[in-house]
Symmetry: D2
């Protein structure tokens, strides 16, 4: 549990207040809609008559929970979480929400994000006698709030005060005996939204979770805002709001979020179509068909096709029976490894000049295999287009970008990578265009992984790990 083990992660949170009960069931459907944000572990805590109980487990929401469990998690408030982590850290201890006893009783806490000053915080806290049982940031959140609670009149004020100490990207939700408190970091790096369904109030990482429980999208939690839900009333503490320009992770639009989600007024699918449209302007090509690499390349491909006038075609069928336990092919069959999950629709590409749109190109190996499959299926030309700019820098806020020596565009020219992946041409969306792909969103963006420029200073410790 050294600092090196502390992981960057992408997660999903969902909280609900509903006087009519069935809150665990709502959380179940909400987390199911957010499953793409984390498949490693999940958990639901509920509050009934000021008493908090919870259940967590490794695996998908529909693997971990069953009817009996949901039945037993009775109450009028719930807080749920889905978690992603790289293989080595796949530990039950790290599952959220974290349910703790602190000075005022019990609370449950869950977050999506990554602190950049976590090592400093940990050292400070351990010097005061604190102990840490997980290898995630959530304990740093819990301790900070617990300490602030000693000198503040309420849990929401404790959360407000904690913002000063918590340096990084986060969407945080706390459930106490009587309230749900939601909070985004002042840069607004991670999304978090508010919904309503009758008397019920919902907090969720994405609006697709609101849709899944039949709730209406009200608004996003503002960067730096502390939202308090008590007995169905929504109030707000805005001490830390608007103090700086905001920086929503642009990769939420390009890759993370579900296409049907709306973030800061901007629907993700439309944003991806726009990325595809700008891509077609920046990197036009004379071709017969535009295809998208499933799943997240599809929207951009449709935008590219629409803008360029080249017909959109169904290029691939993806095997939908995905499972953690799928056995990888032996080395001798490795060439076919992509084909097992992704088969080319020969009739779409045979004898054609093909534009293949993907959401991004990271290591280049998958692109190379897909290009090869297209050629074997008879494509005359394969023009690869990435709706994200080249990955060149690390992310310190939760995106699990590989180290720079594994990024195919680091230290290579566009031509070299084009040759390496076997394409006839290769084009990336420009960083400039990124500013235009979410026109309805009135916020700024973090493009650190493409530009190396981050909205906040990164501690040396974080840089090392």
């Amino acid at each position: 549990m050294s600092q090196a083990e502390r992981l960057h992660e992408e997660c999903g949170v969902f909280a609900i207040y509903d006087p009519d009960g069935e809150v665990a069931r709502s959380a179940y459907y909400g987390l199911y809609a957010l499953q793409h944000r984390g498949q490693e572990s999940c958990g639901i805590a509920v509050c009934k008559n000021k008493d908090i109980s919870h259940y967590k487990g490794m695996g998908l929401v529909n693997e971990v929970f069953n009817d009996d469990l949901l039945e037993s998690l009775d109450g009028t408030m719930a807080l749920g979480h889905v978690r992603y982590a790289t293989q080595g850290e796949s530990k039950m201890e790290n599952a959220q929400p974290l349910v703790i006893r602190y000075v005022k009783g019990n609370i449950a806490v869950a977050h999506n994000g990554c602190l950049v000053n976590s090592e400093t915080l940990l050292q400070e806290l351990t010097k005061g006698g604190s102990i840490f049982q997980t290898s995630t940031d959530i304990e740093a959140f819990a301790y900070t709030i617990a300490k602030e609670r000693l000198t503040t009149p309420s849990i929401e004020r404790a959360v407000e005060e904690s913002i000063k100490h918590l340096y990084g990207a986060y969407a945080l939700v706390v459930m106490s005996a009587q309230k749900i408190i939601a909070c985004r970091d002042p840069w607004g790096l991670k999304p978090l939204c508010i919904g309503k369904r009758g008397k019920a109030v919902i907090i969720a990482s994405e609006t697709c979770a609101l849709d899944s429980v039949g709730a209406e999208y009200v608004r996003d939690v503002r960067p730096g805002e502390v939202v308090v839900v008590k007995d169905g009333e929504i109030t707000s503490i805005d001490t830390y709001v608007n103090s700086r320009p905001t920086s929503l992770c642009i990769f939420e639009y390009l890759y993370f979020a579900r296409p049907d989600s709306v973030i800061e007024q901007q629907m993700v699918h439309e944003s991806r179509k726009l990325a595809g449209a700008y891509l077609s302007e920046e990197h036009p090509v004379d071709a017969d068909v535009v295809i998208g690499v499933p799943d997240s390349g599809i929207s951009a491909a449709m935008g590219y096709a629409e803008k360029s006038g080249i017909p959109y075609g169904l290029g691939f069928i993806k095997n939908k029976y995905i499972g953690r336990t799928f056995i990888q092919p032996l080395q001798s069959m490795r060439e076919n490894s992509v084909r097992i999950k992704l088969n080319v629709l020969k009739s779409t590409v045979e004898g054609k000049r093909v534009v293949m749109v993907d959401d991004s190109i990271v290591r280049g190996t998958t692109s190379k295999r897909i290009v090869s499959l297209l050629r074997k299926a008879g494509a005359k030309e394969v023009h690869v287009r990435s709706s994200a700019p080249p990955f060149l820098w690390p992310c310190y806020f939760g995106t699990d970008v590989p180290s720079r020596d594994q990024l195919v565009m680091v230290g290579r020219t566009n031509e070299e990578v084009c040759e390496l992946i076997g394409a006839d041409s290769l084009g990336f969306l420009s960083v400039e265009a990124l500013a235009k792909i979410a026109p309805k969103a009135n916020c700024g963006f973090c493009t650190g992984c493409f530009t190396g420029k981050y909205p906040l200073d990164i501690e040396e410790d974080s840089k090392k790990s």
Copy 2:
């Protein structure tokens, strides 16, 4: 295990001869590609030095098998199977392949299909002292072959002779100590194809399974043909070939098969696009966008859009984390039940006149819910189009069509159903058009579920069950 329990099922088979071994692993990937044909149970039998061993289990291929199991299933021939069955019959006993000891040693048998004379066969066999341990047809196949083997010089001749007794739809594969024997019923109701990869020979329900193991599609097994694979040589017995007009199940093109599969030279995706194109000709409408209901309505929607000139749009996002154990919403949330798995992309349909293409309309309840979702998302008009004609009759060959009183189009006019599902207009592909959706296939089709006309007489017993 009364006759009433005997089920109609849709299944997938995969067999391979490969002198280089690793046959269980190939079968694993082949079955994974065929997983859409059956998710209840699966099994793989292998033959090594004339010795047959096997493993079967309930669940998906990647749930049942692991590396150790595949390692232990060593040999140069394999026979695999995935099975679908309705809830009540979810029994381990019914998993295939069936491995039996008969007069000449051991064989493994597996099939896709449904006999219409199974009750007659069973009564005959039990009158001779036979016993039945499963509630599937596979034992009728096994017994018939075992009896014929007593008076024939080889296993392939026994299979050939069995065709006389086996009345119905089937794609059958037998693995003996030295051979793989593949056979389709003389009407050609169920698909089965042959592939090659170097010295290896593969038999599979669909070509997508050939693709997944890197094999080339050679040809389909002909209706009534018995194909023998021995030491890599493919020979054929054609006694029962061509004796009657063929009748491939048209629903393979419309729904069952994977879009990337080729059946009788015709790619399924193109066939569905053609169905959509004819649908647009037969039921045109003035609209702003064409959307498809995932997964199998997508191809037809693209065809409808292309032919009509109305833009194709992404109408829905389907949650991909599907699992057998997913908990259904309570009655109070039932209205939202579709939304949990299928969310509308508001930006695609808001304020628009929408053509919604689905692969078929069976009970009408799902269509009603989806239409309602589209309206809530702001669609001005919703025009429902089904790329299959109305279901009006039972299927006796393995498709699990509900009873007539549950079929929404039985006893109702088009207008009544249109109103019932809340659409602005409703159109079904005509039975006549079905004849044109697979132009490359030089075979006839069974359209019994739409027309009530079947390629072979149905026994009274089958009608009752």
Copy 3:
């Protein structure tokens, strides 16, 4: 599934007719009491309104069944089974009861025992077109009954006629739509008893299963008898009764059966005490304490102590948390492997001359390790006594005796084995004494594994396998 795979096994059967229902629950407790007879797999079939349903699984009774399953297995008759098998044959297919459809509908069959003419039967049956799906004898029973049923007026008559063809050791129970039929082989090699509880009638391998469901022991099924239970009435067919001298497996008393069971009027614990008493007469020794090797050496040790006047002591504590998945020690720790499951009570043996009574000595390796443990614990002398005579011959009736080259007493003198296991003296109960250990039982015994003399001729095929 070659003949070589066909296994000798020891199993337990339990059947109940109870008009008040809850029969699956009764079967559950009955099988739990018989669990020592088979831990590999178990199953329960129930009959409700002439309809038979069932559930089987790998593992212990309390692992395979849960409340929901028992609830779903509703009816007024049940047939249950627990099965033992050596590792290689641990297959779901072999679990019993076997539920089959035959000429008159459905029946369930289960047995304990082993046919010696199974290979002959199989060859005959396959020559008639039969197929076999398991590697156990139960299908031979089922086929034979099914064939006889064609020419007999009832299922019980079919069972009666089957006795002519079924050559070997068996306790067989059949459940039809209306009856339970129980039958023992004419030599009476395997035990089977009848009990009553109010209106309920129970058939079980041992009386401990009657006790566990609160039933009274009525009598044993007689060798060759066919007992019919219909609507609570017990009738009997005795065509094959008393035609030959009976030969109950003596090892049931010495080892297999539970000490609290009564077989042929003789309580097993008392029989073991008698064996111990005769052992003390045949092999007296001057000693300070008599200890028994748990579990089945305890009773004999108490008998030895009582007869000899030497105090009985608790010599060992056996770890009771047994599980199939227990990890065996590495080679380097192998010396301690016995100690992990069996620890010596130092205070009982330290500085003493110890008589260590075990139920039998097979390979000698375990005895050697236990003697070594006793010496390390400070025993001055260790006198080993076996309450069974030396194993010298194979068993063809279901006991899994190792091959002769593994039997420590084959080809060695008593002195040689005594030295090999490190004992101060070694004594086995004589074959002659066996005749006296069950004085209340008025039946003869099979002592084939000690004498090589069997009550029936063994086919050459059985000898080979």
Copy 4:
């Protein structure tokens, strides 16, 4: 996780230093031997090159761990734990060892016992900003040590200082990057011993765990002593040793510990025999046979028999296939519920005057059922003897004694209880005799549950919970 949830528990700890490695495997066997002290959850932490990794799970040692896991837990030090808890608290979070990051890196902590000042400690700690994630005392231990470590030069000194704050019963083991530290509370309420095997040093709750790994018993950890194991060297800090009279829980001898364990020089089996002997002196009776209720009544029954001269007999057979998932009988069968797990050996008791010795009588219901079983089996008289005095008071140190209103002897005379359980006579061992049952142990005992006199003051908070 209110105070009310905090549980009294009985647990087992095992730690090993072994330069030759395989420490997880040794811990596995050690915990297996200690399994009777806790079946709910278990865990093993290992230290390799100063790095600590661990694995925990719900269930028995042989259910939670497998070969791969043990292989992956590589190192030269290990700390293992088995835990017992009442049903409601069966949570993964409570499993031990607890692995934490604190000011000096990582440590693992595990304990057996119960603090009586835990609520006070918790309130103090939370007032300082601490948070608690479990509902066990182990976090109070961890925090206290972590805080003391801030002002002490070493982990062992931090443990030493912690003793001042930790008020209650405990056997505590800490594993740091370089050392194993073991410590018993100054009253010596919980047992803990030291063993050696070559260069390896072992710490364990009972000596049976030393035996299971082939280690020699060196001595017990002294009450109040802090034992430090570093690089195989054993050193000791005795600041808190001998400051008060010691008070080992007498119930370790009577019930908890395994009969083959030696605590404070006294073998448990001999102690129980002595208890039985004194019981026979205090409550003699004219009878024909003495039987013990398995498992822990056996030793005392043997002592009673030996002393009284009445023959010892095997009275019961206990079903050994115990499992957590065993289904309880329905109310209608409840009368037989004891019989399912415990069957009477009729031949032992029929027509006899029986002395039935049990380890204790708590609620009386089980005794009543067993007496009834004995009478049904034909016992002429049943004289019940308890080798423990009557339970009259709560235990604050980890024994899960029911509340006073459930204790059968509270508020009833001996005669009343005798009648209630249906016995002919009833006798309990006297509190006075307890002092004599462990003559080799030179320590005092806690008999609080019998006398209401405890070796340390109990806080009001503990009394309430």
